[in-house]
Amino acid sequence: MTHTVFVEVGPLQELRYSGIPNVTLNLCRYWLQQPDEASRFFLGPYVIDRRAIKTVVAARSGGLFQTMLASKQAIGGFAANEARRCPTPVGLFPNVKSVQGLFDLSFQIVHDLSFLLSPEFHHPDTIAHHALTILRDLGTNARTFCVSQATAQDLTTYLDVPADRITVCHPGADPPPDIDQHWRNLPDGEPTRPYILVPGTIEPRKNLDLVLIGLQRIPQLLARYDWVFIGSPGWLIAFDDRISKYGLGEHYRRGAIKWLGYVDEYQKAFLYRHAELAIYPSFFEGFGIPVVEAMYFGCPVVCSYSSGIPEAGGDAVFYFDPTSLPSFERTLLSALRRLRLERASLRAASRRQASRFTWHNFGLRIDQAIAETVAENSRTGRW
């Protein structure tokens, strides 16, 4: 091996794996499939035992990881010592860099600059945490990975990162490998009433208000479909408050509007598989993984044409402007009409688009870009 990739696994401590923890999980899964000597896992100053990562990835459990860390079962020595023993140790950070100066080269994934560009959607602590470190982190990256062309453009536009130091790696959307086995244990059956799925953490950037206002304004949407919101409680807003604000309490109480909170990958897959369509009205996304996740199961998607989302949806989704209620209503009603006439072809188009994005390809592209950067630095003697 010419180099060893040290994968930072801090995000795996999150109790629920969506967003960045999910990206980290899939990066770990990729590196676990490579020869052992190609990678190490670390957290802060510690090497994390490979077997521990295997267990956590299989269980998809941040709680388990926390327990293993607390009992020191997961810790396998000091990263600095391990780095000295490995050929050309390079650090791969799935998010903010937790350590500096430990590796010959370091690489970082930047998901989006929402904390800079739309600070009104974030808690001040989050803004401070990311905004005060981003220039330092970018300045010490040998290469920066962006989850979309949109994020890459933001880095070059607002933070002067040279385009040739950025590699765009679209994340995957394929479900966990054991999903089929899981489904085999589920009873067959169609939902008793058609439903529309709205994924997204309960926070203002996800723009769920647009959907709720739409429901308030067009009563037949509630007469014809159930509306299922999935996503963890987030920050700055609460689901129940929004329901009250738009006078939808009665529909919520009788179940025409449901909020299921966080659902795991298996539940999510089930829900997407049977949904009439999914709506993703977010104001700003690095990529829009939920869009591709829905399409993977053939679920047609109505989504905002914002930031990185068009890279995920391609030509296979129905777009609206997330700042415009008329645009949303027009697009949704048109999508529902077309769905009645072209259900099979729309579902097939969704699956085709989603198949372009796999977690394996995401890991592979990062792996290859790291190898190329290491080779290039070796040739030019940059370290």
């Binding site: 905004a131 104001f283 044409y305 990185g308 777009y319």
Partner: protein, 403 residues
């Protein structure tokens, strides 16, 4: 056009809109320009589209793929975020942010020079235009227009230290303008001096403004100062303004209880504001720094005599020929709460109560004719350089140059 809520920029945007319409440009609101990142999302734009934003530097956001122009006002002689030690928010670096759009428009010559000397190349002076009446006519008591006379004013009664609770013990009672003149000026037309300001802004230098007027009023009891406070009427109610905001902006007094200084926080529709200026002999400004100062220019457009220091943006349109000039001295910035923060390496222009009082005495010493002549020249200055047509021509030349 884009702009998130930000008081000064919202006003600038509203004022520039007529100039853009004058040029028959098609205008669309774009609330979140940063979200349009791909060809599919930019489909509503064509190659001639131009994104004009009205925001402070840290809030500059582009619509990628088209021409972006940021209209930015700035009052100080340095930019923020320069040579600060330790980690800082990337958008706090003004130079970085000003370099992002294709072009910067700024309303005054001083800011143009500050930006240019900081290395910002494509900067152009485009002020917010001012609506200018053809021939401003004056209003005198008792002919106060009904809408202006509906406005509630309260007198400045504000205590500090042992007098802090004076407003609770003796609350100020709202008066209409005609009641003020009848009750406190014997029904005779006072020498009305007006000002309009956000009291929270330290650069408005409220201590000098109020103190200078009080000193002047002691010798000229015929004078009346009307202060239109620009506050959020939902959270900054008038009594809160008196007991909270103003107390933190005025210093050096134990008690001010004046029947010659009256405050209003009501919303003034444009015609009512115009009537207020027509009713005023002069507009008083004691600012330490200004990026354009549209209220002063509007008062000038309506023929009120400007009593103001001549620094920062005011250098562009204030002269001895059209104003009574308040003396000022350059001083390092020694107060928190400015856009620049406390910065002893930067300066602003300080005038004191004594400077304000001296200028007001000069104003009072002028004959009616001399005052009218100054007012007419003030009107002519604004009509010449800041009218909608004049600013539209500057904008057109920018667009023409581009093509």
């Amino acid at each position: 056009m884009a702009g998130r809520p930000h008081y000064s920029y919202e006003i600038a945007r509203r004022k520039l809109e007529p100039a853009l319409r004058y040029l028959r440009l098609e205008l669309h609101d774009v609330p979140r320009p940063e979200i349009y990142a791909s060809p599919v999302s930019r489909a509503f734009l064509d190659e001639n589209s131009c994104h004009l934003m009205f925001k402070p530097a840290e809030s500059i956001r582009l619509i990628k793929g088209i021409r972006n122009i940021a209209w930015v006002a700035w009052d100080f002689d340095r930019l923020t975020g320069q040579k600060k030690p330790g980690p800082q928010h990337p958008f706090a670096d003004m130079r970085r942010m000003l370099a992002i759009p294709d072009e910067i428009w700024t309303p005054c010559e001083m800011t143009w020079q500050v930006f240019r000397s900081a290395g910002i190349a494509n900067v152009h002076r485009i002020p917010a235009p001012i609506a200018v009446p053809k021939t401003p006519t004056r209003i005198r008591f008792p002919n106060i227009p009904p809408d202006l006379d509906k406005i509630a004013w309260i007198n400045l009664r504000i205590g500090f230290g042992r007098y802090a609770e004076i407003n609770q013990a003796f609350p100020s009672r709202p008066h209409r303008l005609s009641d003020i003149i009848l009750d406190f000026y014997g029904g005779r037309q006072p020498l009305v001096i007006t000002t309009l300001l956000r009291p929270q802004e330290p650069r408005k230098n409220l201590t000098a403004l109020v103190g200078g007027f009080l000193e002047f009023h002691h010798e000229h009891p015929e004078a009346l100062l009307l202060i239109k406070l620009v506050v959020d009427n939902n959270s900054d109610r008038l009594d809160n303004v008196l007991t909270g905001v103003l107390r933190s902006c005025i210093s050096g007094y134990e008690l001010i209880d004046s029947n010659a200084i009256w405050l209003a926080t009501d919303y003034f529709a444009e015609p009512v504001l115009a009537d207020l200026y027509r009713f005023s002999a002069a507009y008083l400004c004691s600012s330490l720094a200004e990026g354009q100062n549209p209220p002063l220019q509007e008062a000038m457009a309506w023929g009120a005599v400007p009593v103001t220091p001549r620094h920062a943006a005011m250098q562009d349109y204030i002269s001895k020929a059209n104003a009574v000039i308040v003396r000022w001295l350059r001083h390092s910035i020694d107060r928190h709460g400015t856009a620049l923060g406390l910065d002893p390496d930067s300066s602003w222009q300080v005038c004191t109560s004594a400077d304000v009082a001296r200028a007001l005495r000069r104003l009072a010493g002028l004959s009616e004719d001399a005052r009218r002549e100054l007012g007419m020249r003030a009107h002519a200055t604004i009509a010449g350089d800041f009218s909608v047509a004049s600013v539209a021509r500057s904008i057109q030349s920018r667009f023409f140059q581009r093509r």
